[in-house]
């Protein structure tokens, strides 16, 4: 099976956000594989172990993304492709266009991505790619089984579980609960250094023109939300505190 995994490098979720010069500061930040994409990587490796085949990684992003790709290779993926080109606008339409133009020629049986990225969180790119490639998708899956050209998946829909069968090729996005990603082993890390790693620019992707990549949306401002202030710690015995809380919710906060 020819499996492709879409991967984005993101801030660690314990990072605070600091703004500098109109953007988010990357100084001293710990980078990780987007947690939802990590489930996708793990699932792809497990499927290749079960059914045979190769796991390819695909990312569009800055050069630092190479680190996250190396980690995924160390987990057990076979090959990585990084599309790095500053001409790609920060717009989901454009990014999906680039990635799907590249994937169109790869003959993927299965494409896996994360449910959303923990940074921008728009949750668009993977599903857009399925549409661009004309293949079915199921978003937010917590279980994936493959047999005779068909996938049976569980989709998490706000707590309900939908069981869906899908003809391959297809695209799926991973939800928490799909699996428990493995840690790269030391031999894995050593092997990853020798695995194929391609860095491409837009010029290497046939069938894509810069005009087509015009961003459909753009950012006009970036700010931090107002910081919350610590409120009051209630005093007295616990039953009195409960009564005090209700009085305050009613009279001060006016929410009940």
């Amino acid at each position: 099976m020819n499996i492709w995994v879409l991967l984005k490098q993101t801030f660690d979720t314990e990072e605070k956000i600091v703004l500098t010069g109109g953007g988010v500061s990357e100084a001293g930040v710990k980078w990780i594989i987007n947690p939802y994409d990590e489930y996708a990587v793990e699932e792809a490796i497990r499927l290749a172990e079960q059914h045979g085949g190769k796991v390819h990684l695909l990312s569009a992003g800055p050069e630092r993304t190479g680190e996250a790709l190396r980690t995924a290779l160390a987990m057990g993926a076979d090959e990585a492709v990084l599309i790095h080109d500053p001409r790609i606008p920060q717009d989901e339409w454009a990014i999906a266009k680039v990635l799907s133009a590249f994937l169109a020629d790869q003959g993927a049986d299965l494409i896996l991505g994360g449910n959303f990225s923990v940074d921008h969180g728009a949750g668009q790119v993977a599903i857009r790619i399925a549409e661009q490639l004309g293949i079915p998708h199921v978003g937010s899956i917590t279980k994936l089984d493959i047999s005779s050209g068909e996938a049976i998946v569980h989709r998490d829909a706000e707590g309900d579980t939908e069981m869906i069968s899908v003809q391959l090729p297809a695209l799926f996005t991973a939800q928490q609960g799909l699996n428990e990603p493995r840690y790269p082993t030391l031999p894995g890390i050593m092997k990853a250094k020798k695995k194929p790693f391609k860095q491409l620019s837009l010029d290497d992707i046939p069938g894509i023109s810069l005009q087509e990549l015009g961003a459909r949306t753009e950012r006009v401002s970036l700010s931090l939300p107002p910081a919350r202030q610590a409120g009051v710690i209630l005093q007295g015995d616990l039953a009195a505190q409960a009564a005090d809380l209700i009085r305050r919710l009613r009279q001060d906060a006016k929410v009940i």
């Binding site: 314990e14 998708h137 069981m163 919350r228 505190q241």
Partner: protein
């Protein structure tokens, strides 16, 4: 001819979702002073009773919708990506909208990007506010689950519609005006050939309120100690007509389903009241709930970081405090009625 704004009127458990009403309100906000036709796309099961349909439509009209396009199919009871997309595309063809609005829900998150791509359109996801500034429509949305906020616009030059998803509980709605009415139009639907089959749906949450739409959330962390430990939280939530959530710690420990997880991984919630029980307040959790209007923290540890963002803190054992709160709220609510 006036322009059309199309909203997706999502149904869940035979009820029009609150976010469907908020989507019409968002359409009104976008329309501003320019005369616009607000149309809603309503997908219902083949045998939906006429009076139920009328009731759905009435709620949408009362908020400002002019027309409701109804598509019927036997398989619309469960979400089916291919079927839903095809039906929405038919309504889009019939209405030629400038803007298409979805709720940022399990369905909207799945459907909107697929539609946007099919229409060669841009999309702005998970919008929390809409403003008109100097003739421009500005959409506000969170980044890093709310640790930062960005404002985005649709660029000029594309003839494709603008697709947006709005976060539930954030776009204010107008007082419903029951005197308003509109037109209900049934759209004939020719389903496409399908590559996916929905085999079964296990409704674990039947009747339960979804976290993203809950006005009150009672949330538990590692301090809850076990699956059974969630019982008192469930009781409190039930008295308050709220939903139960959890921190990553509680989910990872196996006390509850990942579907309840609130945080940068998991759900971002913005209820009126958030009651954090036995949650220390890791940064990744705070990102998911700091947009709540009022935060109440119950924790044994007076140094827990959750108290730094809480409006009201109770230092104590949650197993003592939560039942006291349940009793106190129950008495208060009985008094109110």
């Amino acid at each position: 001819m006036s322009r059309t704004i199309l909203t997706f009127a999502e149904i869940r458990n035979h009820e029009l979702r609150q976010v469907a009403v908020e989507s019409v309100s968002a359409a009104m906000k976008i329309a501003n002073t320019i005369p616009s036709d607000i149309a809603c796309c309503l997908l219902v099961q083949e045998n939906t009773a006429a009076d139920l349909l009328t009731r759905y439509a009435a709620s949408l009209f009362a908020q400002g919708a002019n027309r409701v396009y109804v598509v019927k199919h036997v398989s619309f009871a469960a979400y089916h990506a291919e079927l839903y997309l095809s039906a929405v595309q038919q309504v889009v063809s019939a209405t030629n909208p400038e803007v298409v609005i979805f709720g940022h829900t399990a369905i909207g998150r799945d459907l909107a990007p697929r539609l946007a791509s099919a229409l060669q359109a841009g999309q702005i996801s998970d919008i929390t506010a809409i403003q008109h500034v100097e003739g421009k429509l500005i959409y506000t949305r969170p980044l890093y689950a709310g640790k930062a906020v960005e404002q985005r616009v649709f660029t000029q030059g594309s003839t494709a519609p603008s697709v947006i998803t709005i976060r539930p509980n954030n776009i204010p709605i107008n007082t419903p005006d029951a005197s308003r009415s509109g037109e209900i139009i049934e759209v004939a639907f020719a389903p496409p050939s399908l590559r996916t089959v929905v085999r079964d749906v296990v409704r674990k949450t039947s009747g339960a309120l979804d976290l993203s739409e809950a006005k009150i959330i009672v949330s538990g962390g590692r301090g809850v100690k076990s699956a059974v430990g969630f019982k008192p939280l469930e009781e409190l939530a039930s008295v308050l007509n709220g939903a139960v959530g959890a921190s990553r710690g509680a989910c990872d420990a196996g006390y509850c389903d990942y579907g309840l997880q609130i945080g940068q991984t998991g759900k971002v919630v913005t209820p009126e009241i958030y009651i954090a029980c036995g949650i220390s307040g890791a940064i990744q959790h705070l990102a998911g709930m700091s947009g709540s209007r009022v935060i109440i923290a119950v924790n044994k540890d007076p140094e827990a970081p959750i108290f730094k963002v809480a409006d009201y803190g109770i230092v104590g054992d949650l197993f003592e405090v939560v039942p006291l709160l349940t009793t106190a709220f129950r008495e208060f609510l009985e008094h109110e009625v």
